[in-house]
Amino acid sequence: MSYKAALRVWRGDHGRGDLADYAVEVNEGEVVLDVLHRLQATQAGDLAIRWNCKAGKCGSCSMEINGRPRLACMTRMSTFTEDEVLTITPLRTFPVIRDLVTDVSFNYAKARQIPSFTPDPSVGLGEFRMQQADVERSQEFRKCIECYLCQNTCHVIRDHAENENAFAGPRFLMRVAELEMHPADTADRRDIAQDDFGLGFCNITKCCTEVCPEHIKITDNALIPLKERVAGRRYDPLVWLGSKIARRPRSTGTPKVPDNRH
């Protein structure tokens, strides 16, 4: 059974643009990306869309469909009624290159600032052993397909572009949490998590978790555990008192990786 769906697609570049109306054929079993491809093939040859795997694994086709950040290739047309108008816009948090394609380089810049895995140099190559129990937590975070839907939805930068410098976003705070939970890692990223990556901006309202197509429990399993780790280091009055009495200088954590690309 096929029908004509009413689509309103954001078209434009340099941030300026508008919603354009189209009527596009939809066949049974199709996803939003199929319909956008048909639109591109039949009516709007110059429509820009980014996609790659069509299987929810490459994270390229992130966009906003009826206001909800989703993967176009994993959003079935059957989730909408036939007379529903579908409004499709690019991700709102990243600069638009053209139509539905945004420039997500913000995320790569943030990724580079995180000190990478730092094993103990005295443990030789191939000597370290890990049990399943030790890697379980990181395995969940490793399911990330880097679609950046979480980064796009997080209100800290979505609604407040001025926080972009101070906040790394859920995807990268999760990366910090993953390394902090790694049994063979020796760096201490708790200070930079708070000072440079802006963990304190997160108010655990869980929108990152809500939109993650890999169903990673970002807030419960990465952000809150990281907040607890930071609280233990920075906001524990007993620890603070102890270090005052013993007059031990507070050890400084691992610094963030300086940005030398400019």
Partner: protein
């Protein structure tokens, strides 16, 4: 020669609507705001009334008055003795426990999410633009204090032990000796759920095992962490159920104490 093209303009798509969502995204924050307001109003009223918190025949004490430490507390209700003389009416009788219980819920990671969304609207729902010009989250005073959550957790564990003691007291028959009624049962269910809520706390999950890097070296703590994690996944449900059972327990004891109806007794 390669052609050099202009870098794309660094501008986000300019869309004026605060959201393009078409579902009923406003429903959940509205429900949460309503329920929390009802609960807080109810609790405030009963905490300050200073009456109907204790059923002498059966030794029922509402959790809102435990421990009763004010000089006004009726004999029998003051399980830890009275610590003060007569307090002015703006101070509740359980002044030593209520601030911690309140602080625990206020700094709870789940309730934070609930009230930031429902009242502060930062954000009311995902991908709905929030109404504030500036946003600093929990980076500065007063919200940076949320980091002290674990201390409230420690205090609430002590208070939960006291609540458990109150339930044991409530196995009291009208002729003395052992007895139990519907009130005892309600108090028992409430205290079990309160324990589940407190132990499912994210700080508890961190302290008991989450803070470790090397689970395989600490099998016992790893086992505990797994159990707490199971409860923790139900933290939101427990947060709401315990609000319900707290209110029910208090209301039941209130009505029995005020002789609106009498307790339904199973035994003595």
């Amino acid at each position: 020669m390669t052609q050099v093209s202009d870098a794309p303009a660094k501008t986000r798509a300019q869309i004026s609507q605060k959201t393009l969502r078409t579902d009923r995204w406003w429903e959940q924050p509205a429900i949460v705001a309503t329920l929390l307001t009802i609960w807080v109003t109810y609790a405030t009223v009963h905490v300050f009334i200073g009456k109907w918190y204790w059923v002498p025949q059966y030794h029922y004490l509402t959790p809102f008055y435990s421990p009763c430490v004010s000089g006004e507390c009726v004999p029998g209700a003051a399980s830890l003795g009275t610590w003060f003389g007569h307090l002015p009416p703006i101070i509740p009788y359980a002044v030593v426990s209520l601030p911690f219980v309140l602080g625990f819920r206020l700094s709870c990671y789940y309730y934070r999410r609930a009230y930031y969304r429902a009242f502060w609207r930062a954000p009311a729902a995902c991908a709905v633009r929030e109404p504030h010009q500036k946003y600093t989250g929990e980076t500065r005073f007063p919200l940076i204090m949320q980091n002290l959550h674990r201390y409230f957790f420690y205090m609430v564990i002590l208070i939960s032990i006291l609540n458990t003691y109150d339930v044991i007291q409530a196995f009291h028959g009208k002729t003395g000796g052992i007895g139990f009624g519907l009130g005892t049962l309600i108090m028992l269910v409430n205290v079990v759920l309160l324990w589940c809520y407190s132990l499912s706390c994210h700080s508890c999950r961190h302290i008991t095992g989450g803070r470790l890097k090397h689970f395989s070296k600490h099998p016992v703590r790893y086992w505990i962490w797994n159990r707490i994690s199971w409860l923790n996944a139900r933290h939101m449900q427990l947060a709401w159920t315990t609000l319900g059972t707290l209110m029910l327990t208090d209301l039941y004891i209130w009505l029995v104490a005020a002789h609106v109806f009498s307790d339904f007794r199973f035994y003595n």
